[in-house]
């Protein structure tokens, strides 16, 4: 197995209320220093609730925002150049909102041609051939090419978004909530298409979502993010059945499942910590029944728990 992607100490801190000159009013640590490795051909699921930093992480990975610290390595080569055009050939992005990710005033052909022209410098004939190839791969008819985005349903538009990402011919795709905006019957079509494309083109996926059932169904491994920190990492089939981190257990327990009675797995008053005023120690301590003084003062590090599961917790759950 070779490494497709390696993140070393990657973090992002945003400034809040920065005046023209002088120091910003506050810092928000959207992604705290994070180490992560993704194997070639793997699907790594990234789950977390809103504000956990999953989209910031994804945007850093494709070079849309520069990291504050750390580095990104793709196929063993460091990417320290913040030019998206360089990133674009190696790692691509599929957006959450399929309609908003397509320029309403351009035809589908104009949209798909851009990466072929700009990233690969293809001439007209080569572009036409490649577009037919990609459209066949994502089950779209070529007659769609001269239409405008508003003429498509969400599922079709998302296929077009996937086609654009494929056109760049990158080996890694970041899928940022690719099916959240779609209806369930269409969601399954797109998920199956993604699985087929992965097998056909030998792709590596980072699949970002808030839907635990979806991420479990498509991933090899899953990383759980909370408040900018990687709190747990493990095999997809085990992580929600045998979580080590109390937050993962809370997530798994909160998901509505047919046949499970309705319970609020935690007190109803709890809220996420304030990013402008982060608590010291473990960010989850205030919501955690196992928290001790150690948790409230010292930030836990990601440590190995069992064979291939990692958790950042001072008091991991027993199996």
């Amino acid at each position: 197995m070779t490494l497709a992607l390696r993140l070393d100490n990657l973090s992002k801190t945003f400034t809040v209320g920065k005046p023209l000159f002088g120091k910003p009013k506050a810092l928000v640590r959207a992604v705290r220093p994070m180490d992560l490795e993704v194997q070639t051909g793997e699907t790594l699921g990234i789950v977390g609730e809103s504000g956990c930093g999953k989209s910031t992480l994804a945007r850093m990975l494709v070079g849309l925002i520069p990291p504050s610290t750390g580095s990104i390595e793709i196929d063993g080569a460091a990417l320290d150049n913040a030019d998206p055009a360089v990133f674009g050939r190696r790692i691509q992005y599929v957006f959450q909102d399929p309609i908003s990710s397509l320029n309403p005033r351009k035809t589908i052909r104009q949209i798909i041609e851009v990466p072929l022209k700009r990233l690969h410098g293809m001439d007209r004939a080569a572009r036409a051939a490649r577009i037919s190839e990609i459209f066949a791969a994502v089950n779209l008819r070529e007659e769609f090419l001269d239409r405008y985005p508003h003429e498509f349903s969400g599922g079709q538009a998302q296929r077009i978004g996937i086609a654009r990402a494929l056109a760049a011919n990158a080996s890694i795709l970041i899928l940022d909530e690719p099916v959240s905006a779609l209806d369930v019957s269409v969601q399954a079509q797109v998920l199956n298409l993604l699985a087929d494309l992965k097998a056909e083109f030998g792709l590596t996926y980072l699949f970002i979502t808030h839907d635990l059932a979806v991420v479990e169904a498509v991933s090899d491994r899953i990383a759980v993010l909370y408040f900018g920190t990687l709190v747990e990492l493990g095999r997809a089939e085990r992580i929600f059945n045998a979580p080590k981190h109390p937050y993962t257990r809370l997530l798994a327990g909160s998901a509505p499942v047919v046949g499970r009675p309705l319970t609020a797995p935690e007190g109803r008053e709890t809220e996420l910590p304030d990013p402008l005023n982060p608590p010291p120690g473990c960010a989850f301590a205030a919501r955690c029944s196992r928290a001790t003084d150690l948790c409230r003062t010292q930030e836990p590090r990601l440590t190995r728990q069992g064979e291939d599961q990692f958790a950042a917790c001072h008091h991991p759950l027993e199996p």
């Binding site: 023209l20 609730e49 945007r59 494709v62 849309l64 998206p84 055009a85 674009g88 050939r89 691509q92 992005y93 957006f95 959450q96 909102d97 908003s100 990710s101 397509l102 005033r105 351009k106 851009v114 022209k117 700009r118 990233l119 599922g155 056109a167 760049a168 209806d183 369930v184 019957s185 269409v186 399954a188 079509q189 199956n192 808030h210 635990l212 059932a213 979806v214 479990e216 169904a217 991933s219 090899d220 997809a236 929600f240 809370l250 997530l251 909160s254 998901a255 509505p256 499942v257 047919v258 499970r260 009675p261 309705l262 319970t263 609020a264 797995p265 935690e266 109803r268 008053e269 809220e271």
Partner: protein, 622 residues
């Protein structure tokens, strides 16, 4: 484009303005071809001839020059100067605005502060200063007017660009290898052009006025050249003695500016996407009703829908959003309505209280009985007294339903005081009780918070508190947890469940999530293409779905705890409800479909608590 023109012409004032402007522009264009007298030839013997005199249709001015000729030549000049100033201001302003909005940060900050400085001067003073520095002359007046109007365009376009630059297609373009220049030219500009056109159409009138103003003061066109402003300026001395010399250019200025402004407003309205649906009017306070027969109430329940039909009539198309839906809900019961987008589940819920926007929505049949009274077609006063009092709604996005400028406690108090005459202090106490009831910590201090200061989960609790404010009998919740995180969703669902058990509320819960339905609802109705295809107790419907659509919809939703697998997708798309096929709407996607399925209408067959609309159901209902 033809659609745009149609919308424009439907606005009569805009059409009138357009006709005036068209006439003026055509006249200005053909002026050199007309058999006019030379505009600048003086003949003091013929000064101040009245209008309609032979040889001088509009009379002559103080130097005996033909006014008609001067008017047309002057109009030509004024139009040209105003239009060029508008184009120059638009191009420079748009460029500045796009650059500021696209790059943001420090560049934006510096550019916009410079623009603010320009705006800090009264525009006529600024224009005077510019002309004073450059010297009088038509060209310099043009520069001054353009410069004065740059900030207007810059600020307008910057605002639009900031919104567009944050859209995902701009990120996608960067990832596809486009540089900043290309993104601005090929991605952002095409989306900004309509706004530039709208801004120009509404300001060009002003620019003509401003140019005329400068000429009036003697800073624009220099004698003997005529433009509308200088004609007015020269006529000023003879205002009493020969009023026609002022009235002629004044009337032309009035006609041009009024025409342009009316047309500009029309263009803006026609290009505004919110008005695109063809409705240039505000929706009515209650959905319009056009039904021939009223079905009698059958069965019980606190709320009962009988053969409800709601349509959207847009031009020649009729979208049958809700197609003969019958439902009932009992006190303390939670009824789930599940379906994909476009299945008509939200429109069903909104139709009950006449909340579907009209036009284009029309209720064309059926009835909604609340405690035996039909709500469809009830007088607006009656609906209003029930809305939020006996029947309350919770919507998907509490950010959009709460007013951003009022404190949540005041909004709650208002919701109570609309229906009950109690004092403000009492209402505020009640608001705090409600916030406590929906388990908002520190309710007293949170009541003074604005909606944006609360998290999504807390805002939705306020939404629920508002629905509970008058102790309603029925709550209609339209995807209330879809925008929330799972841990928050679990909290909200258990809160709703407690409330209905404690207070005997009937809940109609609209969702697309089977897990939520399974946990909260007693009964569930499955909708597809505007019709109910299956109905029954939640447990039995989920365990043994009778309609093929229900079975396959359940199969294509991954469920937590089943591990990695391939999902069973349903091929194809739901049908558009303006072109429904005959018979079963699901037949084209169904693997069990036979000829009989598309032959004719299929009835909802009831058996005990269950019902299914299928000729070949998966389960035989007993």
């Amino acid at each position: 484009m033809t659609r745009f023109l149609k919308l424009l012409i439907r606005n009569r004032l805009a059409a009138l303005g357009g006709a005036v402007i068209l006439a003026v522009v055509v006249l200005a264009l053909i002026t050199p071809l007309l058999p006019l007298q030379a505009p600048n030839v003086t003949n003091t013997a013929d000064r101040f001839i009245r209008p309609f005199s032979p040889g001088h249709l509009l009379g002559t001015d103080h130097l005996g020059r033909d006014l008609l000729s001067r008017l047309l030549w002057g109009t030509r000049l004024s139009l040209a100067v105003g239009a060029s100033a508008a184009v120059i201001a638009a191009v420079i302003g748009a460029a500045v605005g796009i650059v500021a909005g696209y790059f943001g940060g420090r560049i934006d900050n510096v550019i916009m502060r410079l623009v603010d400085m320009l705006m800090a001067f009264p525009y006529i003073l600024l224009a005077l200063a510019i002309v004073a520095a450059l010297g009088p002359g038509l060209m310099n007046a043009l520069i001054a007017v353009a410069a004065v109007n740059v900030p207007f365009f810059a600020r307008n376009i910057r605002g639009i660009t900031v919104g567009i630059a944050g859209r995902e297609f701009v990120d996608a373009a960067r990832l596809a290898g486009m540089g900043h220049g290309r993104i601005i030219l090929f991605e952002i500009l095409p989306n900004v052009v309509p706004v530039i056109v709208i801004a120009m159409s509404t300001t060009i009138g002003w620019m003509i006025l401003e140019t005329a103003g400068l000429s009036f003061l003697g800073l624009g066109s220099q004698p003997p050249q005529a433009d509308l402003g200088s004609m007015l300026g020269e006529a000023r001395a003879a205002l009493i003695a020969a009023p026609h010399t002022s009235v002629v250019p004044g009337a032309m200025i009035l006609a041009i500016v009024m025409g342009i402004n009316l047309l500009g407003d029309g263009v803006r309205d026609a290009l505004d996407p919110r008005l695109r649906s063809g409705a240039l009017t505000r929706p009515m306070p209650a959905t319009s009703v056009r039904r021939e027969t009223v079905p009698a109430p059958q069965g019980g329940g606190v709320l009962q829908l009988a053969d409800l039909e709601t349509r959207f009539e847009i031009g020649p198309r009729i979208y049958r959003a809700v197609n003969k839906v019958s439902l009932e809900v009992a006190p303390g019961e939670c009824l789930g309505i599940i379906g994909e987008s476009g299945s008509g589940k939200s429109v069903t819920a909104l139709s009950i209280m006449g909340l579907v926007a009209s036009p284009p929505g029309v209720i064309t049949g059926g009835a909604a009985y609340y405690r035996g009274d039909d709500l469809i077609g009830a007088p607006y006063r009656r609906l209003r007294s029930l809305r939020g009092d006996r029947i309350a709604y919770i919507f998907q996005d509490p950010q959009a339903t709460l007013h951003p400028l009022y404190r949540v406690g005041d909004q709650l108090a208002e919701a109570i005081r609309v229906h009950h005459s109690i004092s403000r202090a009492e209402a505020e106490d009640r608001a705090i009780d409600l916030l406590t009831a929906v388990r908002i910590p520190n309710a007293e201090s949170r009541a003074r918070a604005y909606p944006h200061e609360l998290s999504g989960g807390m805002r939705q609790r306020v939404g629920i508190a508002m629905a509970m404010a008058n102790d309603p009998d029925i709550i209609i919740a339209d995807e209330p947890t879809t925008a929330l995180d799972v841990t928050v969703q679990a909290q909200i669902l258990s809160l709703l469940d407690d409330l209905r058990r404690e207070r005997g509320l009937a809940i109609i819960f609209i969702t697309h999530d089977f897990g939520v339905v399974a946990q909260l609802c007693d009964r569930v109705a499955v909708m597809y293409a505007g019709r109910i295809v299956e109905e029954g107790p939640t447990g039995t419907v989920l365990d043994a779905p009778a309609h093929p659509y229900t079975r396959r919809l359940i199969a294509c939703v991954p469920e937590l705890g089943q591990g990695r697998r391939r999902l069973e997708a349903i091929p194809g798309l739901p049908p558009a409800v303006d072109r429904l096929p005959a018979g079963c709407a699901f037949a084209p996607r169904c693997d069990k479909a036979r000829d009989a399925c598309t032959a004719g209408d299929i009835a909802l067959e009831r058996a005990g608590a269950r019902a299914v609309r299928c000729l070949f159901p998966e389960e035989t209902l007993t």
